[in-house]
């Protein structure tokens, strides 16, 4: 069953927190992965791989560079669930 944006955000936040140690409270839709959350490319690719697993979606490499903010990723994942 497809998850809504709130549920995807909650799930993605869990992944980000586990990967980076950032406080869950700091993860919000408008936050930039690089500028606000200080997530490097290796961590980003790890987060992508785990999000693909968790939400059963595919996030192509070409798409990852368009995911600047947490909201971009939530939007993409929510849509990709179809």
């Amino acid at each position: 069953m497809a998850l809504n944006e709130t549920e995807v955000l909650a799930g993605l936040t869990e992944i980000i927190v586990e990967e980076t140690g950032i406080d869950a409270g700091d993860v919000a839709l408008e936050k930039s992965f690089t500028d606000d959350l200080d997530i490097d490319s290796l961590s980003m690719m790890t987060i992508v791989a785990q999000a693909e697993d968790k939400f059963e979606v595919t996030i192509p490499d070409d798409e990852v560079k368009n995911l600047a903010t947490v909201g971009d990723a939530v939007g993409f994942i929510t849509k990709a669930q179809g």
């Binding site: 586990e18 990967e19 980076t20 140690g21 290796l42 791989a49």
Partner: protein, 413 residues
């Protein structure tokens, strides 16, 4: 130029006997066996003839944050845990980062990460292989994570010489300080290879004890019934410091790392040269490097892994080097308690050697109910033994597959 003396100002460890140095040392003095049945079905599932090991006492998940666990192979996790303790123990000195070095070795490297990655690739394909796999499995990963932890910029090194790695790392750290490249070096070794594949491989080479019915009694160096080593895991890290740097900041000094001796057998990939040629040479070089009177030697922490052949070759080498002085040397084989930490062993045993001098007490050797009649050295059995007052020197031996021999000499006033 006067050579710079190198002192030990901090100790850190996580081992099968405890999550830090004080708990590990107390368990060692109490003669506690670290080997236990493994909490898994590997022996049955893979028909491995060994179902026990000296597993880590405090799991990293109890002390590290989740992202640290996910980003580091267990070998690096152990190293970072031990390095943090050592650094705090040294008083977390203020230091110019360009004068701080790290040397942290592993004998085997990130074998859990490598094999988990292989499993993932086969079962789930390339897209599921984690991007952090390479920086986690590379053998310099523990050295690099310790370097990052403290922002060290004088060099981060990972010397690899199998079971001599941890001692060689400390020897190299001494050289970095003596040569003027660094004032402080965080040095040691780590290993996390209690995975079914290495266990199967060591078992295939017939070097592991198969005493499944009594794991606590399996590691028994110099006992006539010894049948191989017990695989252990963990890390030992020391803070090495030039004597003048330590004095300038009023640091607590445990002992002096006075001598380093290195040699290679040039003989066989796994068997030690039967006459102990390389071992003798390493010990003699370390003693000469320390520039001490042989009669000051009162303690020796042996490599002694509990293998049939290796223990006696080392014992004969020690006798050859020390002659009659050997009769006043308290010999300890602490692998009887810790198991064999491979790349971590030489570093952990250096910590034991340093503490033995600092506290003037030689740790016991357990499980020696019937000493090999060929052993002519003074083995400390079952109970710790008090060492003399006055200046003391001790030797720590570490030897590794490949014919690597490392002897370190530790002294105190």
């Amino acid at each position: 130029m006067t050579r710079r003396d190198v002192v030990v100002t901090g100790l850190g460890a996580t081992t099968p006997l405890g999550g830090d140095v004080p708990s590990t040392w107390q368990a060692t003095l109490a003669g506690t066996p670290g080997a236990r049945k493994m909490d898994n079905d590997w022996a049955e599932k893979y028909s491995i003839p060994v179902d026990f090991a000296a597993t880590i006492a405090v799991k990293p998940s109890e002390v590290l944050a989740v992202p640290e666990i996910k980003r580091m192979d267990p070998s690096a996790q152990y190293a970072v845990i031990a390095a943090r303790e050592a650094w705090q123990d040294a008083g977390a000195p203020e230091i110019d980062p360009t004068r701080l070095g790290t040397v942290v070795s592993s004998g085997i490297g990130g074998v859990w990460t490598l094999l988990n990655g292989w499993d993932t690739l086969r079962e789930r394909g390339a897209r599921r292989v984690l991007p952090m796999t390479v920086p986690m499995l590379m053998p310099n990963s523990p050295a690099a994570y310790v370097e990052l932890e403290f922002g060290a910029q004088a060099g981060a090194h990972a010397l690899v010489s199998a079971c001599a790695s941890g001692a060689e790392a400390i020897g190299y750290g001494v050289d970095m300080i003596r040569s003027g490249r660094a004032d402080v070096v965080i040095a040691g070794g780590t290993e996390a290879a209690i995975h079914p594949m290495p266990i199967a491989a060591f078992a295939a080479s017939r070097t592991l004890s198969t005493r499944n019915d009594d794991p606590a009694a399996a590691s028994r160096p110099y006992d006539t019934a010894r049948d191989g080593f017990v695989l252990g895991e963990g890390a030992g890290i020391v803070v090495l410091e030039s004597a003048e740097h330590a004095a300038a900041r009023g640091a607590k000094v445990y002992a002096t790392l006075a001598g380093v001796g290195l040699s290679s057998d040039g003989y066989h990939i796994t068997s030690p040269e039967p006459n102990g040629r390389g071992q003798i040479s390493a010990m003699r070089d370390a003693l000469a490097d320390a520039d001490i009177d042989l009669s000051a030697v009162r303690h020796l922490n042996a490599h002694a892994t509990s293998t049939t052949v290796g223990d006696l070759i080392e014992a004969r080498s020690v006798r050859e080097v020390l002659g009659s002085v050997a009769d006043q040397v308290a010999l300890s084989a602490t692998k009887s308690m810790t198991g064999h930490l491979l790349g971590g062993a030489g570093a952990l045993e250096t910590i034991f050697t340093v503490l033995a001098l600092h506290e003037r007490v030689a740790p016991p050797t357990i499980n020696v109910s019937d000493p090999d009649p060929e052993l002519t050295l003074d083995l400390v059995r079952d109970e710790p033994r008090r060492l003399d007052d006055g200046p003391l020197a001790a030797i720590n031996n570490s030897f590794g597959f490949g014919g690597h021999n490392v002897a370190l000499v530790v002294t105190r006033d």
